[in-house]
Structures are given as structure tokens and as C-alpha cells.
Amino acid sequence: MAQCQLAFDFRFYDFQTKNMKLTLKIWRQKNAAAEGKIVEYPIDHIEPDMSFLEMLDILNDELIMKGDEPVAFDHDCREGICGMCSLYINGEAHGPDRGVTTCQLHMRMFKDGDTIFIEPFRAKAFPVIKDLVVDRSSFDRIQHAGGFISVNTSGNTIDANTIPVNKKDADDAFDAAACIGCGACVATCKNSSAMLFVAAKVSQYALLPQGRIEATDRVLNMVSQMDAEGFGNCTNTGACEVECPKGISLENIARMNREYMSASLKG
């Protein structure tokens, strides 16, 4: 007989309080050039089952009703796949939960009466556009520098599955490809380093035969673009791996270091 499993973490569920009253301290900044500051907003009637972004939606409804400017924040899929929803919540990228993006974070992770700091991802390479929205196009430029393979798509394209790939390499490449380019690794790193993101992209291709052909140029170009964007240097604190919503491992950074050193010696 099929068994029903309750996949719910009761540790964080406060059964007593269905209505949470919170104090939000949110970074407000009119535009890229303006000076920003933390503004305090009390909020009531928040339910533990709401997602964090739903809580912000409620705040924005209230602000709009009052005739105030709503808080600008990034979001798109709201199911943890697009990587848009950033936010540094109570001192952690995507808040206190593990393996989730902000859209997957629920209010049950907080307690009634909590004060919650909500700040934009901070890095020179991620400038604030407005309030909590940051410009992550530096990631796009790194991708453009080498995060692809060149394939003739004239109609004779060979099916990728015709080339046998070692299972371990295929799995590792797949794990690396899980990176959604959210930028939490940069936001959480004390050095604002983009190494985990770039390492995931480099590894994803380096592990597969289709990616090997351009592997040397790829790693050199992506790293040089990463440096040009003004990200800091990795010092292996490992914070990125802990905060990454997709569990991208530090092994990828070690692989990129190897790839980079052998590519520079070759090139």
C-alpha cells in the first residue's frame, strides 16, 4: 500500500501564532545615482505559510494604498528556477533557509515579533538600480565571453547523445549546470567573488566532450571577463557553497583553477 509521507519541516512552524507581526528594515534607494537608506516598516497579519515575496507583496499593497512608492524587488518565476529573486535577508543571501531562493523562502522561518533586514545583493559588479533591484548583467557578460559551445546548426547537427559520456562526468556536468546565475555566491562572499558562478559554467562544459574543444579559450576568457567586472578574489571561505540555492560545490572552483592554470601554460 502506498504510504503518504508528510514532507514538511515542523521545527520552524509556530502553531500558536497564525498572525505574525514583524518589523521590516528595508533598503530604499530612488535610483542608481541616489543615496539610499534603511527604512523601517511595521507589518501585521503575516501568515507562516506565506512566501517571503508574498509578504513583500502585502507590504507593497499597503504602501500603494497609502500613496507611497512600493518597494522595488526582482522576481520572475517564483519557483526557484530563474534566479531573479535576490535579497540579502537578515545577513544572508536568500535568507536563513538552505538550498532555496528567496521565492522559496517561507515566513515560517521567522518568529512573530522578529525584525528582518532586507538589503540588495551588494557588490561593485552588481550596482543597485532601485531599492532592492541590482544589475547582474556582469554575469551575462561573463557568459558571453565563453559560456557556450559553437555548433553548426545548419541542419546537420548531431544528436548530443551519440557521443558516449562517462556517467560520473555527466552527473558532475549536470550538477554544475544547475547554477541559475542568481548571484547569491557573490552576495554572500566577503570578497564579492564570482568564482562559484564562473566555476559552475566552466565545469559544465569542461566535463563534456562537446565542451572540451573550446575549453582553453573558454576558461581564459571567462576568468578575464570576471576580473574585468570588478569581482573580488576567492579566499576559499566556502560561504558561497553554503548559500548557493542549487548546491554548486567548491569542487567546481578547484576544477576551474586546474583548467585555468593548464590553459595558461598551454596558451
Partner: protein
């Protein structure tokens, strides 16, 4: 690839930091074993010290590399710290670093600065007099002076205390530095777990061993 681009790259700097760190750890390990002999047998300590102090390979090849290694490691460490700080011009109002990383890993600049201060003191206190003794005053060889010199250094409680505190910070520096250097040179595989344990053991045994040697001589002589 142009070599200048390689030298400017973040990964090359990271690998260079790791290699200089690995070299300094090797030096530390041999220094530790030599000093440890002083606890057991003063003659052994004297003869090894005499060998190290008068062997041309050690004196004219390894010693200059060591001095350059120390200078490179701390200069690069300071340069990278400034560069990394400037990669985040506005800091967070609330940051919970402890949630995802160790204190030791986030504060290498602090533990490094204390260790550097100690190295400078050690140079002033030991290395410069030793160089003057050998190469400026050109004293006659004395194969038995080393042990008494060592013991003499640990007479003062203040000096011994400074020594112990510095080595506590060195322990924190190695706690992160040992494993970090292997990760930087690209070593991350099925052996890494065992290597991490070795790293943590090294970070405890070597600095606390030095502290033990200092306290042993302080209280025994």
C-alpha cells in the same frame, strides 16, 4: 596567452598565495621538529641547529627563498585584502558571516597580521643578531651555543606570553590556510576529506607544540 595577463589574473594570484603558503608550512614543520628536539636532548638540538646555521645550501639558497616567500605572502595578502574590500563599496547593514563560514576563514588578515608582527619580532630578536653574530662580527664557530640561547629567549614571562598568543593566532591562520592552499591549487577529490583532517591536525599540533616548547623552557630553566 600573454604572460602579463596571467600575472594579473585573480586565479594566478590565488595559486601563488597557496604555493607560498605551502612552502611556509613546510618550513614551519621542519622548524617545529628541530625545536622539539630541544625538549628531549640539548645536544641533538645544538647539532641540528649548527648544521642548519652553517650549511651553505640552507644559508645561501633556502634562507633567501624563505625570506622572499614571507615577504611575498604577506604583501600579496595585504594587496588582495584591499582589492577584495573595494569589490564591495557599500557593506551590509546586517551580515551574518558565521552562518556560512568559519571565523578563521573570514579573518585571515587579522591572524596574518599578528603572525607577521611576530615574525618581525622574531627577525629582530633572533635572526638579525644571528646574522650579525655570524657574518658581521664573524665570531668563531660555537657548536653548543644554540640551546642556551633558546632557553634564554624564554626566560622573560612577557616574551613567552607574546610567543604563545602569536602561535594561537597562527593556529587559526593554519586552520583555514592549510586546506585552503590545497583547494587553490586545484586539489579537491575523494582524498580531500582525509586531507582536511590532516590540515586541522597540523593547525593544532604545530602551533600548540611551539607553545609547549616555550612553556617547557620557561618553567624548567
Amino acid at each position: 596567452m600573454a604572460k602579463s595577463a596571467l600575472l594579473k589574473s585573480s586565479i594566478a594570484k590565488k595559486v601563488a598565495m597557496a604555493l607560498s603558503g605551502l612552502f611556509l608550512m613546510l618550513f614551519l614543520a621542519q622548524h617545529f621538529f628541530i625545536n622539539m628536539t630541544s625538549v628531549f636532548n640539548s645536544d641533538t638540538f645544538n647539532s641540528i641547529s649548527h648544521f642548519m646555521g652553517n650549511n651553505p645550501l640552507v644559508q645561501y639558497v633556502i634562507q633567501p627563498i624563505l625570506v622572499l616567500g614571507v615577504i611575498f605572502h604577506f604583501t600579496m595578502g595585504i594587496v588582495l585584502e584591499f582589492k577584495n574590500n573595494s569589490a564591495r563599496p557599500i557593506s551590509y547593514a546586517k551580515n551574518n558571516g558565521a552562518a556560512n563560514s568559519s571565523w578563521a576563514s573570514r579573518n585571515m588578515i587579522i591572524s596574518g597580521a599578528v603572525v607577521l608582527a611576530f615574525i618581525l619580532l622574531h627577525f629582530y630578536d633572533f635572526w638579525i643578531p644571528e646574522m650579525v653574530y655570524k657574518y658581521v662580527d664573524v665570531n668563531p664557530l660555537n657548536e653548543t651555543r644554540y640551546f642556551s640561547e633558546l632557553v634564554h629567549k624564554f626566560e622573560s614571562p612577557v616574551r613567552t606570553a607574546i610567543y604563545c598568543v602569536s602561535f594561537l593566532l597562527l593556529s587559526l591562520h593554519l586552520w583555514h590556510g592549510f586546506n585552503s592552499s590545497f583547494q587553490s591549487v586545484g586539489f579537491n577529490n575523494k582524498y580531500s576529506r582525509s586531507l582536511h583532517k590532516l590540515g586541522y591536525t597540523f593547525a593544532i599540533v604545530v602551533p600548540f607544540g611551539f607553545i609547549f616548547i616555550a612553556l617547557f623552557h620557561h618553567f624548567n630553566h
